[in-house]
């Protein structure tokens, strides 16, 4: 300790001694120099126009050289690989320009497809998370819901959902056009056109939509929809009749999700609040805190209300009881997989890496990481301080809450804004879980309503506060020139546009989900019998239990 103190004093002394010299080392004024002659400016050479004839002499490796192989990669990829439109005339400038254009679109296709595959991988994360939080006697049923929703949701979306959502979006420049998606049904309200739903694209064949750009857009949007469709299964775990789940998921993918997604992303009325009513750049939702997560979370709330709580979740007096998760390892593995998939969700929403601000993918990815970290920290510390332990499942929920919240603003905020948004989400999710369970007396076994609903809405609002006006995706957004700017950076109108989106989610999307849920309840019944629920849904609903060896070894 003494040595450390002495060392500290020596260093301090050295600093004090050198300080005057340091302070003296202010930049000296520039020495007076003899006036020189006018600085010589070397004019930039005027580029010589490249002619078609110049391209004829571009060296390419001969066939004999190529036949020997190319171990260092210096010969592969050259002028001979550029597609030539007229072999008689050889390589021309027009061929080069076309190749450059196709390369740009190819980069964007590959980027969007690969990030779409990452989003598809999130299905596994949801499956593990929800199954882990359920009891072992419901593992097969919960896992099957997460698998089946992928197929059923995709089928409904292919039939009609995609057309409703994107049938009138028009040309998506990053994907080279998507021109066939050109018919939006609009109604005139307050003297302005209100886009309500798209009309082209059913079966991906209708009205010229058998198109490579449309296919990329379909794949990417489909996995987003499926992410939303899998959220209600979490709130309905352990008591949802499988047939009712299938019909509800079909309706979600065909109508509920595509309608709101059209209004926000497909050229609908919410997106045009800026162009038509001067509210910022219109409703903005970069990757779907509102479109995907709040829609899913509010649908989950509607289903959870209709189903009611599991047997044993509340005492006779209405006090919530703990029903333990059967595999916390599965839960946290699911959370990590979801966080990995989110690198497809948010950066992929640029729909390209080349052109129109595509290089913002780096900023979006970092914002995504930061918000997940602060969300995790916020929830973990909250649980540690309030309940004396850093609860694993709530820490996982905080991790996801940060990601859900940053999804909408990820493309428009700076890293500090992202960190704050995530931190607030991490605490908010803990408060919301308590509110849903104790005040609303709703049984939401995985916290889907809070993670996706509450934090999804927070994400939408946070964009209206923290968007810093520095993003530039081709000079405009939703048809309004300039960058998206929130209240804290000077545009209160953007916050109003975001709040109209929130009001639409609460008022319209929730009501529609509830009406669909009630209709399905009347048709086939939403809830399983009490006998099946007590036995566990694996055998009565699915015909097989998830862990037969485990059951055999059980003392009971």
């Amino acid at each position: 300790m003494k040595v450390a103190t002495k060392s500290f004093l020596v260093v301090l002394l050295a600093l004090v001694c050198t300080a005057p010299f340091s302070f003296a080392q202010t930049p000296a004024p520039p020495a007076a120099t003899a006036p020189s002659a006018t600085p010589s400016v070397i004019p930039a050479p005027v580029p010589k126009p490249i002619l078609d004839s110049d391209l004829a002499n571009v060296p390419v490796p001969s066939a004999e050289v190529r036949a020997k192989g190319d171990p260092d990669g210096s010969l592969t990829g050259n002028a001979s690989d550029v597609t030539v439109s007229d072999p008689q005339k050889g390589l021309r400038i027009g061929d080069l320009v076309n190749q450059v254009g196709q390369n740009k679109i190819a980069i964007n296709f590959v980027w969007t497809l690969i990030t779409g595959y990452l989003v598809m991988f999130m299905q596994l994360g949801f499956a593990l998370l929800e199954t882990g939080l359920a009891r072992a006697k419901n593992a097969n049923h919960t896992m099957m819901m997460n698998v089946a929703v992928y197929g059923v949701g995709m089928f409904a979306y292919w039939l009609i959902g995609f057309a409703i959502q994107m049938g009138g979006v028009g040309a998506v420049a990053n994907l080279g056009g998507t021109a066939p998606l050109s018919a939006e049904f609009t109604a005139t309200l307050f003297g302005k056109p209100f886009g309500l739903f798209g009309q082209h694209g059913m079966f991906l064949m209708h009205k010229g939509t058998y198109d490579v750009g449309v296919m990329v857009l379909f794949l990417f949007q489909m996995v987003f929809m499926d992410t939303g469709a899998t959220i209600p299964t979490g709130a309905a775990v352990e008591r949802w009749k499988f047939s009712a789940f299938l019909i509800t998921s079909f309706l979600f993918a065909a109508f509920t999700y595509p309608l709101f997604a059209n209004w926000a992303w497909g050229g609908g009325w919410l997106a045009n609040l800026g162009a038509n009513f001067g509210l910022g750049k219109g409703y903005c939702d970069f990757a779907g805190s509102g479109v995907v997560h709040a829609v899913g979370g509010l649908s989950a709330l509607a289903i959870a209300m209709i189903l009611g709580p599991r047997i044993g979740k509340f005492s006779r007096e209405g006090r919530p009881q703990v029903i333990l998760a059967h595999d916390i390892v599965m839960v946290l593995t699911g959370c990590l997989i979801l966080a990995f998939g989110w690198f497809g969700f948010n950066p992929g929403s640029t729909l390209g890496a080349s052109g129109n601000g595509g290089l913002r993918i780096s900023s979006i990815a970092v914002n995504t990481m930061l918000a997940s970290a602060t969300g995790l920290i916020g929830a973990m510390l909250y649980m540690w301080i309030v309940y004396k332990k850093p609860d694993a499942s709530m820490t996982g929920n905080g991790f996801l809450a940060g990601l859900v919240a940053i999804t909408a603003p990820s493309g428009f905020v700076n890293p500090v804004g992202a960190a704050i948004i995530g931190l607030i989400a991490g605490v908010l999710v803990c408060l919301s879980v308590g509110f849903v369970e104790r005040v609303m007396q709703i049984d939401d076994p995985v916290g889907a309503v809070s993670v996706h609903g509450t934090c999804g809405l927070w994400g939408v609002i946070s964009l209206g506060l923290f968007a810093d006006g520095k993003s530039n995706y081709g000079g405009s957004w939703n048809g309004v020139n300039g960058s998206v700017t929130g209240l804290f950076y000077g545009d209160a109108g953007q916050l109003v546009a975001q709040l109209i989106g929130v009001a639409t989610l609460l008022g319209f999307v929730f009501s529609l989900s509830l009406i669909f849920g009630i209709v399905v309840d009347l048709l086939v019944g939403q809830r399983t019998s009490a006998k099946s629920e007590l036995e566990g849904l694996d055998l009565p609903e699915m015909g097989a239990i998830a862990y037969p060896e485990f059951e055999l070894k059980s003392p009971s």
Binding site: L273, P309, F314, M440, V496, I500, V502
Partner: protein, 61 residues
Amino acid sequence: MILIGILVTLAGFVLSVLSLAATSSVAGRLTMVLAGMAISLFGILGLLNKAFLKNAVWKKG
């Protein structure tokens, strides 16, 4: 009660949309939208949730 709850929830949404025509001031629109959100939340929490809780499984024998 459920039908009334749905209508009230939808009414909040309608009020928010009407703010677009009722005024062009940002503050006026903000006020109307916040009022619309409050009405929708009342419909969900105060009416619909209570209506569904009446038949909650833990309240039965």
